[in-house]
Structures are given as structure tokens and as C-alpha cells.
């Protein structure tokens, strides 16, 4: 992202809305607005300070208009880029462009969903595709299942290694009071759960809950005047390659292999400099693919990399410390919450699950069916 400068903006506020199961008739915009005010309270800014609004959601077709109307604000800059769960990482990059150019000063990125209350089918109806729909894949699950099947075939990845990802996520979730899942989980329980789309059982798949979130970003200079330690945006990268899984050329390689290097180049660091990773784990294969494509292990080694509790608490690399989309929270497009955990780790706010000396975290978002891939690297003051 040539032109964007490492550390020119920072996250100053971050918050979830209420999560889990919300009251009947709660709207996605109720959740966005609630999260926005919590994120503003987090940094001491007021609604009147907000001059840029970034919103994407599946239940609200024109997000920036709906949230601006609800809050009765008139943002100077707005963006409703909708590329699935990674939309919000892209919004960070776009907010950085706008703030660096002086088009706005305080940007809010917000999301909300009531998919548990209204059902996934109602919250996120799929477009008919004459070349795919007749075969009745359960999308997006079957698309990721076919990526996992190919990875298993090509690299010897096993269902047990996939299950390791779910078990690690659950162990982290048990350290997070906000996590949806409260009971331990074993490899055998993952393998023997209800099969959904081979090789995935229901425990290889993310949760379906209600919820939302918001983050507040501003210039580095203004960030230093606010309540909490700024979390600087060190690097961003974004790419998209297809909309339907049939058009992905190699099912074992994702766009993280493009967005990751972009973000690392901008940040001027390497994977070994990252203390904690927040990887969009819609399915157990995702962190495996992203660890490879982001450069944390060689291509094909992701399954063996996550084995033996390597990404669980006490393992060799802290991944998805919130419990992830698999065990903490997954309200549809989960990318904003992927970033919130990475931000909190740099702030040192994570209590029992806090990773020691976490100066650099990486949040990676995934959208559609491995379609859009966006990476954001966050850092503390020490990393500038």
C-alpha cells in the first residue's frame, strides 16, 4: 500500500455490542449504534467528533446511510465496501487514506448482525448461481470443505489437525468471559460431531450468534491526546480474487499470500516480529491456510504446525486468543471482532488470556469463499 504511512493513524476506541442472543426485534443497526457509543466512550470522544463512517453488513443494504440516520450524524467521508467478513480490514485501509489526506479526522467502523435471532438464511441470503446452485453446496461451508479436502490430499493434512484448531480456540475461549462457548472440547468430540460437509463436522464450523462491534480511528497526533494508549496501524494489505469458489485457481493458496506481504512491507517487519495473531477462523482450515500464506510456516505445513496444542494457550504461537469465530463469537461477518482482539492484546487488556509483551499483533480477515483477504498489523508506541 504505497502511499500509506506506517503509524500515521491509530485505533483509539474498540468495543463489542451485546453478543450472543439479543432480544426479539433488535435490529442490526441497534447493535452498530450501541457498539459505536461504547467504542467512543472507550476513548473519550463524542458522537459529534465523528466525521467518517464505515459500515458493512448483510442485513442492511446501505450501511453508512442507516447508521448515520440512526445516530443523526452527517459524516464527511463514508464507505460501505462490502466484501464479506474482511470488509472492516479494508475499511481500516480506506480510513487511513482519508485521514492521511486530511479528508476526515475521526473514523468509526461499525458492524451488527442478528443472524442467530432471525436465522442465517434470513440474515445472509445467497445469490442464485446457475453454475453452482443446482448442486446444492451448503455455502459457504462446502467451499471451505473442498479447500480442506484438497489440502489433505496434497499435503497430508488430517482431520485431527483440523480439530486441533477448534480445540485450541475452545481453550482460549474458556479464558474469555465474553465467549459464547463455556465447556471444554476434545479432538474426539470434534471428529464425532454431526457431519455437515465432509471433512467438516459442526465443530469445524464457526458459531452463529448475534452481535456487532465498532472501532474508532484517528490521526497519530490526535490519538496521543486521548484516554488510552494508541494502537497504531503499522501495515495494511488487501486483495480479492473471485466471488464464487469455482473460480479459485488453487484451493490450497489464498490471497493472504498477497495481502500479508503488502502489510509486512508497509510495517517494515517480518512474521517473526509478530507476537499474536488474530486469524478469521470461519472454519478450521482457515488458520492453517493463513499461517502458511502469511509466512508463519511453509506451504503445506499448516496442519503439522498447529498440532500438539501449538496455537492453544501455552503453545508456541498465540492465535485467536479470544476463542475466535469457532468459540468466542461469530455474528456473520466477524472481521471487526477479529481486529478488536488484536487491538486489545496490544493494549494489554486481555486479563487471563493476555499474551506477554504483545507489542505487535496481526489481524487477518477473510471474506466470501476465500474471496477477499485483508491484513492489518497493529503495534504499540514501542514499534514506531
Amino acid at each position: 500500500m504505497s502511499g500509506l504511512k506506517k503509524g500515521s493513524i491509530a485505533v483509539v476506541g474498540a468495543a463489542e455490542s451485546d453478543l450472543g442472543l439479543v432480544a426479539p426485534h433488535t435490529s442490526p443497526v441497534d447493535l452498530m449504534a450501541q457498539a459505536t457509543m461504547r467504542a467512543l466512550d472507550d476513548c473519550g470522544l463524542k458522537l459529534k467528533d465523528v466525521d467518517a463512517l464505515f459500515v458493512a453488513a448483510t442485513q442492511v443494504r446501505m450501511g453508512p446511510m442507516s447508521l448515520a440516520e440512526y445516530l443523526r450524524i452527517k459524516p464527511k467521508v463514508f464507505d460501505g465496501t462490502q466484501i464479506g467478513g474482511s470488509s472492516f480490514m479494508t475499511h481500516v485501509a480506506h480510513a487511513q487514506m482519508a485521514i492521511q489526506l486530511g479528508l476526515c479526522e475521526v473514523a468509526v467502523i461499525a458492524y451488527g448482525s442478528t443472524q442467530r435471532s432471525v436465522s442465517r438464511a434470513a440474515a445472509s441470503p445467497r445469490e442464485f448461481n446457475p453454475y453452482e446452485s443446482p448442486y446444492r453446496p451448503i455455502l459457504p461451508i462446502s467451499a471451505y470443505a473442498m479447500a480442506a479436502a484438497r489440502h489433505m490430499h496434497q499435503y497430508g493434512t488430517t482431520r485431527e489437525q483440523l480439530a486441533e484448531v477448534a480445540v485450541a480456540a475452545r481453550k482460549w475461549a474458556l479464558l474469555n468471559p465474553k465467549a459464547w462457548e463455556k465447556e471444554p472440547l476434545t479432538i474426539d468430540q470434534v471428529l464425532n460431531a454431526r457431519m455437515v460437509s465432509y471433512p467438516f463436522t459442526v465443530r469445524d464450523c464457526c458459531l452463529v450468534v448475534d452481535g456487532g462491534g465498532a472501532i474508532v480511528l484517528t490521526s497519530a497526533a490526535r490519538a496521543r491526546t486521548l484516554k488510552k494508549k494508541p494502537v497504531y496501524v503499522l501495515g495494511v494489505g488487501e486483495t480479492l480474487s473471485h466471488a464464487n469458489i469455482s473460480s479459485l485457481p488453487d484451493f490450497t493458496v489464498t490471497g493472504a499470500s498477497v495481502s500479508g506481504p503488502q502489510a509486512f512491507k508497509m510495517a517494515g517487519i517480518q512474521p517473526k516480529d509478530v507476537t499474536m495473531l488474530s486469524l478469521y477462523d470461519a472454519f478450521t482450515i482457515n488458520p492453517i491456510l493463513f499461517l502458511e500464506d502469511l509466512g508463519f510456516c511453509p506451504k503445506g505445513e499448516g496442519g503439522r504446525f498447529v498440532a500438539d496444542g501449538a496455537i492453544a494457550p501455552g503453545g508456541k504461537l498465540a492465535v485467536n486468543t479470544s476463542g475466535g469465530g469457532l468459540s468466542y463469537c461469530h455474528p456473520g461477518m466477524y472481521g471487526l471482532l477479529v481486529m478488536i482482539e488484536a487491538i486489545r492484546q496490544v493494549r494489554g487488556e486481555c486479563g487471563e488470556r493476555q499474551v506477554k509483551n504483545c507489542d505487535v499483533s496481526l489481524a487477518h480477515g477473510n471474506g466470501g469463499v476465500l474471496s477477499s483477504q485483508c491484513t492489518v498489523i497493529f503495534g504499540s508506541e514501542n514499534t514506531l
Partner: protein, 129 residues
Amino acid sequence: MTDLTKQSPLGVYVEHLNKGELAYQFSKDDNKAFFYPRAIAPESGSENIEWRVSKGLGTVYTTTAVYYKGEQPLNVAMIDMDEGYRLMSRVEGIDALQVKIGMRVRFKVHPGDDKTLPYPVFTPAGDAK
């Protein structure tokens, strides 16, 4: 050249299926087959596109078995056709979990129904070359 006021890429594709043929497009400027059918060739943007009929043989690139309540597992697979393009489909005639990556498969037409246009499906083709 596709005149979209006269015919659509999907329309031509379905006409072929109604004749028992699996059609695909070939970009003469790119010297490359592509799928799904389009009015414009991807990458070059060329309109110099030729419709071709596939020999109907392909290889399973990846596969899954989908579990719907109260139904037998349903196969969904990606098929790499010998002519150099890929499509989503289903391998029929064997258990969904017995469909394996690398398996050779042969095209046949599924006639569709009053709600669904005809579409291609596949059956195992042994060691067909």
C-alpha cells in the same frame, strides 16, 4: 461477438445441454478455454470467443459430501475438464464419500425440472484417457 439483445451466454450453454452437449468457451486471443460462459473473455476482455463442445471427460480436483437432514450424503465436486477449464458439479452413481480426488469422470446431462435448468453431472469413467 455476443449480441446480448439476441442471446445470452447462459442461454447458449443451456441450448447445448438440451442437445446433450457440454459447451464451453475458448478465447482465441488468449488461446485459452474458460468457464463459466461470458460475453467477454476474462483477462484480455476480448470478444473473439468461440463456443466449443467438450469431449466430456474430466478429473476430480476436490470433493465434499454434503449432509442434509433426512437425505443420503450428496456429492459436490470440482471437475477439471480435459480441455483446460474447471466447473462445479456432482459425481453420481457412487456413494458421495467414495468420490476421490484424481478420479476420472464422464459428463452426462441432468435434465433439471420445472424450477431448474438442465445442468451437467458426472459418473465415474474408470481409467478413461
